[in-house]
């Protein structure tokens, strides 16, 4: 399965990739929303993990653009923004899951399984 990891922190991108287990996924990464759109167009992932607070283009705007391109893309928001309205907004825009930072490998993998429950 193809997975795109979008986060402006290289440490977090690498931590997500390690936690997921790269043999199970073909993984690409992007450091901001604008770069994510470029990678998405070329890579066409089925799953995207998306940070919100990023330079160039934030994660919520990036969710809009990805779902315009492919409404079937499964998007898991992984963000430190802990207010309820941010999570609600992300889901309104079409994200299927929301994982609060800091996260563990266990919670991340649970959320990824949940993405495909419906």
């Amino acid at each position: 399965m193809k997975l795109l990891i979008v986060d402006d922190s290289n440490v977090i991108r690498r931590a997500i990739a390690r936690a997921i287990g790269e043999p199970d996924y073909e993984i690409r990464t992007a450091g901001n929303g604008a770069e994510a759109i470029d990678v998405f167009d070329e890579f066409r992932p089925e799953v995207v993990t998306m940070d919100i607070t990023m330079p160039e283009m934030d994660g919520l705007m990036c969710v809009d653009q990805i779902l315009q391109r492919d409404p079937g893309t499964r998007i898991l928001i992984i963000s430190a923004l802990a207010d309820a309205s941010t999570a609600v907004e992300a889901v309104k825009r079409g994200a299927q899951g929301f994982l609060l930072k800091p996260f563990t490998a266990e919670t991340l993998n649970t959320e990824l399984v949940e993405l495909f429950r419906d």
């Binding site: 922190s9 963000s79 923004l81 609060l100």
Partner: protein
Amino acid sequence: MSEDDLKVFVKGTERFFSQVTATAAEVSTPFVREQKDRVVSDFSAVIGVSGTQRGCVYFTAPREMVADLVKRLGETEMTDEIYADYVGEIANTISGNAREFLGSGFMISVPVVFSGPSHDVRFPRDMPAFVIPIMWSGHNSSLILCLKDDVEIEKQASLAEALSTLGVN
């Protein structure tokens, strides 16, 4: 910034270290930074704050502590670039988590990171800098809050809007 706001960051800092490292951090009583206080360490990150409050949130830590933290994440690339990146992520996570209590009006920027033995951090002069000392796994670091409620700014904006409606410039 209120005492309750300070407590939000103290609790948030404790929670961050417990969740990420499974080793509790000892967070000491916050104090107001004075000019003579040297609080800046090897790696620092600054988050700009706007909205209901304005100012900055800083996190600063020594190299050994950041190295220890990224190692516990399972990171194998032990470089200054990785350390600086992770200091930014810590500042971002603690600030972002504070929105659970401070609300979505507590708007945060992406982190700006600084490193090197002589790097300088300039603190705003129009508000106090509250230093929250953090001891984790034998290392000392600090979370520094320079925040001001924007109530006065909101009042001024409302007044300006009201005067404008009345046709008064």
